[in-house]
């Protein structure tokens, strides 16, 4: 709760920095602010004050706090990764936009009303559209921003229409009231209520870039500046999944028979399309974009297992944490490689194992985690999802997921092979900033630690 206010205040402070000329100390101030928000978040944990606030608009219960914690921690890492992104003009605008996006992300973890859901999604999306287009001279960046804006607005239209239909059936925006409406009105629910649920499903699938609605993702991920791509695939994804989970596990969970088959088809499509397309990509950034679609499919599988209560929440929390940390690690390497080479093609990684063994080692751990190889966090993330799915009617998805994961191993290993077994083109060493070295060390250790002792996160609820 206080975290939300602190981040909002930081965003406004960032804009004041331009007027009162304290741009120089803004970066440490923002880092301190995020630590403070994280601290407040931590203090509110298990503090049984968790009632819906402000006329039942927002509710920071333990689930919301856990996801907020993941988002704030990732945000801290992200700001360390992005330190030289803020070294050119208009830094205050960039800070303000990123912080406002963070406000939207925190709202998406904690909304308890349709209005706050919509506002959260828009507050998260609008700064992202602008940030995607923030390299104004770069045509690809402009295209990314424009495409993201058009597709995102389209999805918001679906979301609003869905909300309107659900309001028409239930007469309320309050999520708990809608939930009790579903459980009480057995059999007498009008058809357009289900139409509303499906429209919201479409909109949320747009936002998490699941398969038939994923067409924007590769272009946007590739065209945006690398640090912004990192922001999209970690914080935006975690927030969108927190919202997706809250809507479909908690609120519409009782009406599961109306949407679970649709979602199962979406998951199957996402798994097949993303993994097969990713295998033929030459740009690592674009490959990571497709891999993020495949990870979205895995997290959607946990939502499909809607009869397991808190086990699904735990699995999604663990997965988003493992994926966020792995992605931050991978994008730090991609950022540094592309800064040197000017592009993020797979050839740019050739011989990285000789040019800088530390960076290459961190990239290996990140790739192994994303591919789901044991001992890393990614393995357990996928393992917990599979154990969830065994109890549902969609066991065929497990087989499909394992098969497509095997394809995934191929394209993640393409990077590893390039780093160690391809000849070095130019023999120079690769030098990293100290902050990036520390960041890589921390994220790599966290990936391993999460893999060795997963039980602290996976048993967090219930």
């Amino acid at each position: 709760m206080k975290g939300l206010f602190i981040i909002s205040g930081l965003g406004i402070l960032a804009m004041l920095a331009e007027i009162f000329k304290f741009k120089k100390i803004l970066y440490p101030l923002v880092l301190l602010g995020i630590i403070a928000a994280y601290g407040c978040n931590f203090m509110e944990w298990n503090n049984n004050m968790s009632v819906p606030m402000f006329g039942k608009m927002i509710h920071f219960d333990n689930v919301a706090l856990a996801f907020s914690g993941v988002i704030l921690a990732t945000a801290f890492f992200w700001f360390i990764l992005a330190n030289d992104y803020f070294e050119h003009d208009h830094i205050t605008d960039h800070f303000a936009l990123v912080l406002f996006a963070l406000v939207g992300a925190l709202m998406l973890t904690s909304f308890s009303n349709m209005t706050t859901l919509f506002l959260g999604i828009e507050i998260l999306s609008i700064p992202m559209y602008v940030l995607a287009a923030s390299r104004k001279r770069d045509l690809a960046s402009n295209e990314a921003g424009f495409k993201y804006l058009i597709m995102g607005s389209f999805a918001s239209g679906f979301l609003l229409f869905g909300i309107a239909l659900i309001y028409g059936a239930t007469g309320t925006f309050d999520l708990m009231a809608i939930r009790s409406y579903i459980s009480q009105a057995n059999g007498s629910i009008p058809v357009f209520f289900y139409a509303g649920i499906l429209m919201m499903l479409v909109a949320m699938c747009f936002k998490v870039s699941a398969a038939p609605f994923h067409f924007w993702a590769p272009d946007v991920y590739e065209g945006s500046p690398t640090v912004i791509t990192a922001l999209m695939s970690t914080i935006v994804k975690t927030a969108a999944f927190a919202a997706f989970m809250h809507l479909f596990l908690v609120v519409f969970g009782k009406a599961g028979e109306s949407w679970s088959m649709v979602l199962a088809v979406i998951v199957a499509l996402s798994l097949v399309v993303s993994n097969i397309t990713a295998a033929s990509q030459n740009s690592v950034k674009r490959m990571l974009a497709y891999s993020s679609i495949s990870h979205a499919a895995f997290m959607l599988m946990a939502i499909l297992a809607n009869n397991r209560g808190f086990a699904s929440v735990n699995a999604i929390l663990y997965y988003s944490l493992a994926y966020s940390i792995g992605s931050i690690s991978a994008f730090t390497v991609v950022y540094n490689v592309s800064k040197e080479d000017g592009n993020s093609n797979i050839e740019a990684f050739n011989g990285l194992g000789k040019r800088n063994p530390f960076v290459a080692g961190c990239m290996v751990i990140a790739m192994l985690s994303l591919a789901g190889i044991p001992v890393t966090a990614g393995f357990f993330a996928k393992y917990f999802i599979f154990t969830l799915m065994i109890g549902t009617g969609f066991k065929w998805l497990i087989i499909l997921a394992i098969l497509t994961s095997a394809v995934g191993v191929y394209y993640y290993f393409k990077v590893i092979i390039a780093m160690y077994f391809k000849p070095v083109r130019e023999g120079q060493k690769m030098v990293l900033e100290t902050s990036h070295v520390i960041l890589l060390a921390i994220t790599t250790l966290l990936t391993l630690a999460l893999g060795i002792v997963p039980k602290y996160i996976i048993e967090i609820f219930g």
Binding site: D93, F100, T115, E122, S134, R135, R137, V191
Partner: protein, 179 residues
């Protein structure tokens, strides 16, 4: 007259006009005419709001949509000098496919609506809710938090628009272009 009240007559006429103008928006080839038809559609919808006793919404709809946004649209269309000639003609195959897909969607919609039972109004609703005073009370009591949070949304949009629109003054833009 045919057993209908004046409100029902008005509803029918306004609905007919709204749908006709909306169709004209799609079917006219000249973008400027298209925008003008859209303005007329908005006026018809504003009329619907008035019938529902939502004066505030009706006025806002005319001022914001028909007034501000459509004028912006017109400006942009005139600046880009679009007219009927510049619009590319679609290939016959494309049209055929679009027609088939659109027709299928229509069949699905009609089928779904036919299957839907008679819509029942869940809550009759206060007929005075659309008046400015009541709207303000709802906005500043029940929906105070969303109202305040919307300011962050507007602020973010404002900052974003300025950032996109502002001229770059720095010289090291080339250096960072590919990152």
């Amino acid at each position: 007259m045919l057993g209908l009240t004046i409100t029902q007559w008005l509803f029918g006429i306004l609905s007919f006009l709204a749908i006709m103008f909306a169709l004209m928006v799609v079917f006219t080839r000249n973008p400027v005419n298209s925008v003008l038809y859209l303005v007329l559609t908005f006026f018809c919808i504003a009329g619907h709001y008035l019938l529902l006793n939502a004066q505030f919404l009706a006025v806002v709809h005319i001022v914001v949509y028909a007034g501000a946004i459509m004028v912006l649209f017109l400006f942009i269309i005139m600046l880009m000098n679009l007219n009927a000639d510049t619009e590319p003609r679609k290939h016959i195959v494309t049209r055929l496919i679009a027609g088939v897909i659109g027709g299928m969607l229509l069949i699905v919609m009609v089928g779904a609506l036919k299957g839907a039972e008679q819509l029942t109004i869940v809550r009759a609703g206060a007929s005075q809710i659309g008046l400015v005073k009541n709207l303000g009370q709802v906005l500043f009591h029940e929906f105070l938090f969303p109202f305040e949070v919307a300011s962050i949304l507007l602020l973010a949009a404002l900052v974003g628009a300025i950032m996109i629109g502002k001229r770059d003054t720095n010289t090291n833009d080339k250096k960072v272009i590919n990152n």
